[in-house]
Each structure stands twice: as structure tokens, then as C-alpha cells.
């Protein structure tokens, strides 16, 4: 039973190269919804070829689910290719922007902390500071956790992008 639960909670990285046309994103996301595939994260953006986009999905489920995701994705006419990336031979990153509102006494320690985790502070306005951080999902989670004492006001995350090594 516990084994099954562990298996079910597995997350897999799936990437797809798609033709960027009217309705493409709608069609891809609709597939996940209608077939009940659990989509933890989704990202789409331009890629090295004009007219094509590359999408990254984080899919929850066991291997048979991932296999069905890939088989159903490639059936979409817009999808040129798709694959699952093995965690050990791929790099995955997420960018997070975290707006914090530290007390005046906290500001120095905030900047020190951001330097420690190789984050950046691209902007600040009056008493609010935007922290930028890029890393793996657990690292992003750690940074968010570390910033909690500084009064987090807003978080924006891109979702994961990934590439094989």
C-alpha cells in the first residue's frame, strides 16, 4: 500500500516541441484535463526554431501514466516531438520572484541572505523588495521558506523548464 502511494506521488519531467498555432496551448492543456493526467507545472516558450515552442510539464503519476501522457501528446497534430527526461541526466530550473516587506531592521540581513543563496534583488519600491531566484524546485522551496521571516507579500513562479544533459 505504502509502495503504491510512493509510486503515485512520483513527479516526471516531460518536454514537448510543438507548432505554435491557434489553439495549440489550449489543445495541449485540454488533453491533460480531459484524460485526468495530473499536471503539477506547465511552461511554454519560444525555442531555437521560429514557429515552434517548447513546453515543459511536470506530471504526477506512475510510469504507466507518463507513458500514456507521451502517447497521447504525440497524437496531437501540433506536437512535433515529446519525451520524458530522466531526473539524473537532465537539468530543471524554475525562476521565482518573491516580493517581501521586511522591517527596516531586517533589510540588511535580507540582502545578506539573498547574496548567500545567489539570488538577486532586481528592484525595490519604498518598503518592498523584489527578490529573484533561479534554481531547482527544492531550492526555490528552500529560498521561499528562508524568506518567510521577511514578510512575503507576493510570489510568482514560472513553472519548471528542463533540458536533458
Amino acid at each position: 500500500m505504502s509502495t503504491a502511494e510512493i509510486v503515485v506521488s512520483q513527479k516526471h519531467i516531460v518536454t514537448a516541441l510543438v507548432q505554435n498555432e491557434s489553439g495549440t496551448i489550449n489543445r495541449v492543456v485540454s488533453l491533460f484535463r480531459r484524460r485526468g493526467f495530473s499536471l503539477a507545472s506547465f511552461n511554454a516558450g519560444d525555442c531555437e526554431e521560429p514557429g515552434l515552442s517548447r513546453m515543459t510539464f511536470i506530471v504526477e503519476g506512475d510510469l504507466s501514466v507518463v507513458e500514456q501522457v507521451l502517447k497521447q501528446l504525440i497524437k496531437l497534430i501540433d506536437v512535433v516531438e515529446c519525451s520524458a527526461l530522466p531526473a539524473e541526466s537532465s537539468v530543471s530550473r524554475e525562476l521565482a520572484l518573491i516580493r517581501v516587506k521586511p522591517t527596516p531592521e531586517q533589510r540588511d540581513s535580507l540582502y545578506k541572505l539573498v547574496l548567500e543563496f545567489y539570488g538577486r534583488t532586481p528592484g525595490a519600491q519604498s518598503d518592498q523588495i523584489v527578490v529573484e531566484y533561479t534554481g531547482s524546485v527544492p531550492e526555490v522551496e528552500d529560498v521561499i521558506h528562508a524568506l518567510k521571516p521577511f514578510n512575503i507579500v507576493e510570489i510568482v513562479r514560472t513553472g519548471v523548464v528542463a533540458m536533458s544533459l
Binding site: Q19, G23, L31, I74, K75, I77, D78
Partner: protein, 602 residues
């Protein structure tokens, strides 16, 4: 994509509407089905210049889709339907979903409001592209008339290649009016769209080894055999390897029902022999069949003693519901052809065949005498037409009885709403089939429920003189729902008793020849009279009200727990479907059916 045909006449400018008519002509569409409206007026005007591409005016757009569907199922060619924007387009939705579930090649054309008005909630605007994303193989919104020739060519190509399916092209009014000189492409190259691969020799070899090792093989032939036109290969394959052939619902007709190896349909209401044979088999070969839930019952118990071998062109079907031991991805005609080249020595499974003959003798389909039953009618229809008519049905009891009692000998003669289970499908599908094959006898078998959903097409049949016969089995109930309420809801009938109009007066109002038959004694005369009349005929058969379809595997139950017809003297299935069989397998356990409701084992 950029290539030119070199044909001067195609380089002249013509409107988007003319491009559409030209596309239909180029793809051999002699008949298509539609309903006009404001935004498609430019196309309806253009149609007058193309009298050889005949437009059939329907009475509801849903039926335009079903007629295109019937046209496709009767020919293997692409069916085309057309609707205007807004409600015209949304009325197509059921028909498109129906075609998607059964993988029917269709091109569905919709008009839309002017391209500059899209998104402004204009009159009769609807996002039909968005609405149909989950129910089309692909769809398009064409906002530039220069794209139209390529898009239409690609739409036909996608609809009719690989795993077939409906493709929708949504075209704003101004795109119908604007002109383009762009030619049609000579070749479609869609990156990422791959036709089924040639069968992998290693997979073929594995399949051959499994077939040669099997002692109790059965095969399940689905509609993929029909669309892949693999009938001859299937027959050779079954005969050479001595493998009994079961059909999925939509696979009926892919293997002659009068062949000694044919076991008919299996599953929820399939014949018991096929259902039991799969449970006892050591090898189950699915060919162009998708192992849907009505066929498998509880997948954990399905074919519990067998290795499953799956031949399909769609990799996504492999492992979707059941877990095959091996598979071959590719066109089933090519797959069977390759295996037939390797497997030429005659195999023989005499003990297995004997077991199957025993089941056939013990659990035949029965038609109790002394009552006027739907089964009585369908058995007679089969006899009168010698199993050679085109037959279309809706969904429900009449559908299952037709599948059981109509002994299809040829493919492309059977059209039924298998996946979506659409009431009202049969009659318009039959009309579409008759347009496609005017020389063949066409029957729509419908119930009183489904017929009342699309009977307005009687007028279409009358106007075009469509010689289609309707066998209306009137039992005063939504029969299948009533059966479930009887068996699983303790006879608590809720909204299933159904009144009907006086069908004789209705037929008279439409000008349709009418027969009413209430007794077995009048059956032959009714069928003879209907068949002799040249034109649409409505035959109302007033049948027994509370007749149940058997055998029956309750939804989600194990196929081993099939409920036999109470009319049989021995209504229980064998305790253990392989008990009588010496087998090298370890003792096995067939799970209890997982029934959620009492009363299922009555």
C-alpha cells in the same frame, strides 16, 4: 506546402467559398450534408455553381454530422458536413463527438462571424474551435484566405490517415468572400504527424512465437480491421492458425458471421461463448480493437488466464485499459500480412474448438416463442435480407439485439454509435449511407426513444426520395435504462416509460409509407411490403414491453460472471470456465464480480 500543381486554372483568383467547393470536388465528395445560415451565405451562393457536388439540406445540424458519419462508415471515404456559426456549429457537437469516439473520417465545416468581429460576442458567434478541441482529431480557425487551400487539403488528409477521425475547419464569413490565388498543395507534410510505421520484425517474430505456443487462442477483431481493409488478411490469419474470431461491437462485419470460426460479439451483451472463451483462453489477440470497458468488463479479471497480444496502429491504445504481453504497432493489414507470410503451416486446436462448440450449444442466443419480441423482429430482418443489408442503429437494447441477431457478412454494412452511445444516430446515419450507396438496401433499426430525437429527418428522406427503411421497435420504454432500473434499482422505474405520437399519422403527415406490426404472424408480410416499396418506409413493430437483453455482464463486473438468458434451462455460467480443460497453467482464481447493487444475479 509551397509546391504548385502547375495547373494554370488553379492559379486564378477565386473566393474562399469557391476554394471549399473545389476542395470537396478534388476529394471526390459527391454528396455532403448541411444547413445554411447568415455567415455561410457566400458558400451557399457558390454551391449553385457546383451542381455535381450535391448539398443535402437536413432539418437539424446534428443530423448533418450523423449523415456524414453514415456516408463515411458505408464507404470508408471522408464524410463532410457543414453548419453556420453559433447554434449551427454547436448543433454539430454531438455528431462530431460521436465520430471522434468511433474514429470516423469526417471533415466538418463551420462558418463563423467576420474575422474582425471574432471575440466581440457578435451575433451567432461561438468559439467552435475551442469547443471541439477535445472531440476532434484536429481543428482549425482560418483567418487568412490564402491559408484555406492548404488547410482544407490537410484537413482531408488528417481525417483519413492513421487513426481516422473528425477534423473541423472554422471559416469566418469574410474569408469565404475574400479571394486567393493560392493553389492546393500536391503533398501534405506535417512535421510530427507520422503515419503508422511498418510492423517491426522483432515484434512480428514475438507475435508469431506466441501464436505458435498457444493452445487456446482467440482473437478480437475491431473496427480497425474495417478501416484498415484487412478482411482478407484476417480471414487467412484466423483460418491458418485455427483461431476463433470474436468481434467488438464495431468490428462486426470484418469477419463473416456465418464462418465456422466466427463467435460474434463478446462483452456486456455479447454472446456468452465469446465472453467465456476469452476468460478461458491462453492467448487473446486484439486486432484494431481498443479493449473498451463494455468489452472487457472488470479489466483485472479480463482474460485472466491469457497473454494478451495487441495489433493496433495507435500506440496509445496499447496498455491503455489492459496490459498486453506483446504488441505490434502498425497498420493491421500490414501486420497480418507479415504474419501470414511467416505463419503458413496449418495450426489446429481441436480440443479448444470442441470446448467452444460445447459452449455454443449450451449458451445459444434464444428467441422465446409465443411472444412478439424485438428479437423476433431482428431475427426475421436478418433472414429476409440474408444478412446483407446496411444496418444502422442508435444505442440501447435494439442496438445490442441487432448486434446479436443480424449476421453481418461484409464490412461497411454496420453503423452504430459504439463509443459515444448516441440516441438518434441510426436514422440519419442510414440516410447518409443510402446517399453513399444508393444501390444497396439500407435499414435503420431504432427504438421509440431514439427515433423521437431525430425523426424530423423524415422530411429530408421524403424530399430527396431516400429509399431507407426504418424498423422502429416500440416497447414504450427507454428499454436499456428500464432494464438497468429493473436489475440494479429494484424495479423502481424512473422516467423510463415513454409515450409516443401516433406513428401512422406521423408517417402520413410526412408522406412516408407506413406499416404497423403487432404480431409475429404479420411480420413476414410487413418486411416484404417494406422492402418492396421504393421510398422511405416506417415500420412500427409494437413489441413486448419488458424484454431484457441477455447475456449480460453488469457494468464493471467480471466477464466470468456473465448472466445468462433466464430462458435457458441452465442459466449459470460454468463455475470455472477452464475447469473442463486440461491446462498446464497453475490453478487460477476468477474474482467475484464487483457488483455495487443488489439484484444483479436474479
Amino acid at each position: 506546402m509551397e509546391s504548385s500543381t502547375g495547373n494554370e486554372s488553379q492559379l486564378r483568383e477565386r473566393s474562399g467559398a469557391a476554394v471549399i467547393m473545389e476542395a470537396l470536388e478534388r476529394h471526390g465528395i459527391d454528396t455532403f450534408f448541411g444547413y445554411p445560415g447568415g455567415v455561410v451565405l457566400p458558400l451557399y451562393d457558390e454551391m449553385l455553381n457546383w451542381p455535381h457536388v450535391k448539398h443535402i439540406l437536413v432539418r437539424h445540424e446534428q443530423c448533418a454530422a450523423h449523415m456524414a458519419d453514415g456516408y463515411a462508415r458505408a464507404t470508408g471515404r471522408v464524410g463532410v458536413c457543414l453548419a453556420t456559426s453559433g447554434p449551427g456549429a454547436t448543433n454539430l457537437v454531438t455528431g462530431i463527438a460521436n465520430a471522434m469516439m468511433d474514429s470516423i473520417p469526417m471533415v466538418c465545416l463551420t462558418g463563423n462571424v467576420n474575422s474582425w468581429a471574432i471575440g466581440k460576442d457578435a451575433f451567432q458567434e461561438t468559439d467552435i474551435q475551442g469547443i471541439t478541441i477535445p472531440i476532434t482529431k484536429h481543428n482549425y480557425l482560418v483567418t487568412n484566405v490564402d491559408d484555406l487551400p492548404y488547410v482544407l487539403a490537410e484537413a482531408f488528409y488528417l481525417a483519413n490517415t492513421g487513426r481516422k477521425g473528425p477534423v473541423l475547419v472554422d471559416i469566418p464569413k469574410d474569408v469565404l468572400q475574400k479571394k486567393t490565388a493560392n493553389p492546393f498543395p500536391t503533398e501534405i507534410k506535417r512535421r510530427g504527424y507520422q503515419l503508422p510505421p511498418d510492423p517491426d520484425p522483432a515484434q512480428i517474430a514475438e507475435a508469431v512465437a506466441m501464436i505458435e505456443a498457444a493452445q487456446r487462442p482467440v482473437l478480437i477483431a475491431g473496427a480497425g480491421v474495417m478501416w484498415g481493409e484487412a478482411f482478407a488478411e484476417l480471414k487467412t490469419f484466423a483460418e491458418t492458425n485455427d483461431i476463433p474470431v470474436i468481434n467488438s461491437l464495431l468490428g462486426l462485419g470484418t469477419f463473416p458471421r456465418d464462418h465456422e470460426l466466427s463467435l460474434g460479439m463478446m462483452g456486456m451483451h455479447g454472446e456468452a461463448t465469446g465472453t467465456l472463451a476469452v476468460q478461458a483462453a491462453d492467448l487473446v489477440i486484439g486486432i484494431g480493437a481498443r479493449f473498451d470497458d463494455r468489452l472487457t468488463g472488470d479489466t483485472k479479471a479480463f482474460a485472466a488466464n491469457a497473454k494478451i497480444l495487441h495489433f493496433d496502429l495507435d500506440p496509445a491504445e496499447v496498455g491503455k485499459t489492459v496490459s498486453p504481453r506483446a504488441w505490434v504497432i502498425g497498420d493491421v493489414k500490414a501486420t497480418l500480412g507479415e504474419i501470414n507470410k511467416l505463419r503458413t503451416a496449418q495450426l489446429s486446436h481441436p480440443e479448444w474448438r470442441e470446448q467452444i462448440r460445447t459452449w455454443q450449444a449450451e449458451y445459444p442466443l434464444v428467441v422465446p416463442e409465443g411472444k412478439f419480441l424485438s428479437r423476433t423482429v431482428l431475427r426475421a430482418l436478418n433472414a429476409h435480407t440474408n444478412g446483407e443489408a446496411i444496418v444502422a442503429t442508435d444505442v440501447g437494447q435494439h442496438q445490442m439485439w441487432t448486434a446479436q441477431f443480424y449476421k453481418f457478412k461484409q464490412p461497411f454494412n454496420w453503423m452504430s454509435s459504439g463509443g459515444l452511445g448516441t440516441m438518434g444516430f441510426g436514422f440519419p446515419a442510414a440516410i447518409g449511407a443510402k446517399f453513399a450507396r444508393p444501390d444497396d438496401e439500407v435499414w435503420a433499426v431504432v427504438g421509440d426513444g431514439g427515433f423521437q430525437m431525430t425523426l424530423q429527418e423524415l422530411q429530408t428522406a421524403v424530399e430527396y426520395g431516400v429509399n431507407v427503411k426504418i424498423a422502429l421497435l416500440n416497447n414504450g420504454y427507454l428499454g436499456m435504462v428500464r432494464q438497468w432500473q429493473e436489475l440494479f434499482y429494484d424495479n423502481r422505474y424512473s422516467s423510463v416509460a415513454m409515450g409516443s405520437p401516433d406513428f401512422g399519422k406521423l408517417a402520413e403527415a410526412y408522406g412516408v409509407k407506413f406499416f404497423r406490426c403487432e404480431r409475429t404472424e404479420d411480420l413476414d408480410a410487413t418486411l416484404e411490403g417494406a422492402r418492396a416499396h421504393n421510398g422511405p418506409v416506417l415500420c412500427e413493430f409494437v413489441v413486448e414491453m419488458e424484454e431484457n437483453v441477455y447475456p449480460m455482464v453488469p457494468a464493471g463486473g467480471s466477464n466470468s460472471a456473465v448472466i445468462m438468458d433466464p430462458a435457458l434451462t441452465h442459466v449459470e455460467p460454468p463455475e470455472d470456465v477452464v475447469a473442463s480443460f486440461e491446462t498446464t497453467h497453475a490453478p487460477h482464481h476468477i474474482p467475484e464480480p464487483e457488483l455495487e447493487t443488489a439484484g444483479a444475479n436474479q
